[in-house]
Symmetry: C2
C-alpha cells in the first residue's frame, strides 16, 4: 500500500491540484506502465477515494475516503518532517503508549501515530479520554527539541495555537484556549493536549504530544456526563469536517510554529497564544494536587507560566493546575 510508486502517484495528484492527469503523464511521472497506472487507480478507489475520469483529459481526485488512510494523509501534505512518518492503527490502547515505545526506539522527529479508536485513551493526570471510532482525531506526535527540561510545557501552548489555527482555517469556527491544554468552542471542550516527555536526567530525548480532538461526533455520540462539557466540530459547524484535512492542517501549522520556536524562542508563540486565550483578565480558580488559588488571571510569563493575582493582591506563578472559569 505504502509503496514508493503509490507515494509518487499521490504526490503527482497533489502537484496537479484541480488539473487532470492523463494515464500517459502519470506513467511517466511515477515510472511505471500505463496498465500499472490503472491498477493503482483502482486500488485508490477501493480505499474510498473517488476519482473522476474524463476521456482525453485523464483523472483527478474529487473525494477522499471517510476513514483516514495513510494515502489520504500523504495527498497534499507539504511538511518537511511532521507527518512524514505515520503509523496508522485501527484500534489501540492509546497512541501515547505506542509513541513512547517508538520514541525510545529512536523513531525520527515528526513521527506520528494515528488511531481510529483508543480503548484506553488518557488525558492529563491519568484521566480517561473518550475516543470512539472514526469520529475524532486521536494521535501522538514525536518531537526532539534541544531545550532544557523546564521548557517542555511550552510545547503544549505551541501545539494549542497550531490546532486553533488549523480549526479556524478549515471551518471558520473560532476556538479559544483555556490554559494550559484545553481548546474550547462556546465554552465546551473540543480538544485536549497531553504533553509527555522522555529524558535523561538533564537532556530531553523526546517530547510526545498527544492530541484528542472531537470532530464528527453528534451530541448523542457523547456519554451523557460529557454532553454538557464537550462538543465536536460537527455539532458547532453543522456539517461534517474532513479529519485528514484537519490533521494535515495541524501538521503544517505545528511545523511552522515549531521551527519558529526553535529559531526565536517562546516569545512569538506567547503573542499568538495570548490572542486565543480565554482566561486572561478573568476571575479563575486554579486547582493543583495540593491546593487551590482563586484570583484574576493576568497572563503568562515569557516562559509560558500562568500569572495570577489573588484577592489579597498577591501574585502567584502557576506551573500546573486545572482552571475553572
Amino acid at each position: 500500500m505504502q509503496s514508493q510508486l503509490r507515494k509518487d502517484l499521490l504526490d503527482a495528484f497533489t502537484n496537479a491540484g484541480e488539473a487532470y492527469l492523463s494515464g500517459q503523464v502519470i506513467a511517466e511521472l511515477i515510472g511505471c506502465s500505463r496498465t500499472a497506472v490503472w491498477k493503482h487507480i483502482e486500488e485508490l478507489r477501493k480505499e474510498g477515494f473517488e476519482l473522476e475520469a474524463v476521456r482525453r483529459k485523464g483523472y483527478r481526485i474529487v473525494k477522499t475516503p471517510e476513514k483516514i488512510t495513510a494515502d489520504e494523509l500523504r495527498l497534499g501534505l507539504k511538511t518537511n518532517f511532521i507527518g512524514k512518518n505515520v503509523h496508522y492503527e485501527e484500534s489501540v490502547e492509546s497512541t501515547q503508549k505506542i509513541a513512547h515505545r517508538l520514541a525510545y526506539d529512536n523513531a525520527p522527529e515528526g513521527t506520528v501515530i494515528i488511531a481510529e479508536e483508543q480503548v484506553a485513551g488518557r488525558g492529563r493526570m491519568d484521566r480517561k479520554w473518550h475516543s470512539p471510532k472514526y469520529t475524532g482525531i486521536w494521535m501522538s506526535i514525536i518531537l526532539r527539541p534541544n531545550i532544557p527540561l523546564p521548557k517542555a510545557p511550552q510545547l503544549t501552548l505551541l501545539t494549542a495555537v497550531a490546532i486553533v489555527q488549523a480549526i479556524e482555517d478549515l471551518t471558520g469556527l473560532l476556538p479559544e484556549i483555556k490554559w494550559p491544554n484545553d481548546i474550547l468552542i462556546r465554552g465546551k471542550k473540543v480538544t485536549g493536549i497531553l504533553t509527555e516527555l522522555e529524558a535523561e536526567a538533564d537532556r530531553i530525548n523526546s517530547i510526545i504530544i498527544g492530541i484528542g480532538m472531537n470532530v464528527n461526533q453528534t451530541r448523542e455520540d457523547f456519554p451523557v456526563e460529557l454532553q454538557e462539557i464537550a462538543t465536536s466540530l460537527f455539532i458547532e459547524k453543522g456539517e461534517k469536517v474532513s479529519r485528514s484535512d484537519l490533521i494535515k492542517g495541524i501538521f503544517r501549522n505545528l511545523e511552522k510554529l515549531y521551527l519558529l520556536y526553535l529559531e526565536e524562542g517562546f516569545l512569538p508563540i506567547k503573542f499568538l497564544w495570548e490572542g486565543y486565550a480565554i482566561s486572561i483578565g478573568r476571575k479563575i480558580t486554579a486547582r493543583t494536587l495540593s491546593n487551590s488559588i482563586t484570583g484574576t488571571a493576568k497572563g503568562i510569563t515569557d516562559d509560558g507560566v500562568l500569572i495570577m493575582v489573588d484577592d489579597h493582591g498577591k501574585t502567584h506563578h502557576v506551573y500546573s493546575a486545572d482552571i475553572e472559569l
Copy 2:
C-alpha cells in the same frame, strides 16, 4: 516459583538468621504440610541454594546460588518498597527499556528489573555499555518522587552514594565518585548510573535509574579497549563478590537515602556525596555537546549542579558534561 508460600519460606529463613528451622516449625510458619516443606526445600536446592540439614534441629541455608535468583534476592531483604517487586530476566536488550514500559504501565515505586545479560545496554548519551552474562549487576529501578523536573539529576548523585556505601560495606573497597554518574576504584570505572525519566510536561511520572556494575569480571573478560579504563570488584578485591548481597545492599542504602531525601531535601545527600567525590578541588575539563571548559572543580551547589572556576577566574555552573580529570 514466586508463590506466596515460597516467599514466606524465605522470609522464615531470613528471620531465623543462623538458627535452624525444623520441618514442623516451617510447616506452621508458612501454613503447609510437612511433605510440602520437603518439596520446597528440594526446589531451593535445584536453584543452587545449599542447605544444611541436621537431625532433630532442622534446616538452614549455608550458601546461595551463583546465578541471581528472585528467591535469593528475597532472602534477607528488609526494605519496604525498593526491590519488593523484582522482574528477573536471563537476557534482555536493556533493563532500562523494560523499566520504561513497566513504568508507563503503572508499575509500583521500587519495582526493579534485573537481567543476567544485556545485549544492547546503554549508558549516558546513548553510549553502549558492555554487560556480559553472570558477571555484573545490570538493573533498573523505578522511583516516583513528587519533585520538580529540574531536580531529577539529584537522584543520580543520591544513587551514587547508595552504591558506594554498599560496595564499602560488603567489600571494604573505597570507591570514589566522579561527577555526575561514574563510580571509580583506583581511577578505573566500576559502575555507571543512567537516570532517565518519564513526565507529563510539568509532573514526573517515573524516574528510572539504570545501574551497570562490574562485579566478578576478570581483566580478560573486558574488551581490550576497556581494560585500561574499567575494572571490577573482583579485580580490585582479589576474590568473588556475591552479586545478590550487593544488590540487597544497594536496595537498603538507596531506600534509606531516598526517604531522607524526600523528607529533608538534597542537602544531607550533598554532604554525603562530597565525602566520596574525587574531582572536587582538582583541575578538570568538562565537555558538553557544544563546548568544553577547563578549570578547577569547586564543588556542587545545594541543588547538585557542578561549580567550576576557569583559568580567568570566571565561575561556571555545569548541568551536564563529561569530566576529564
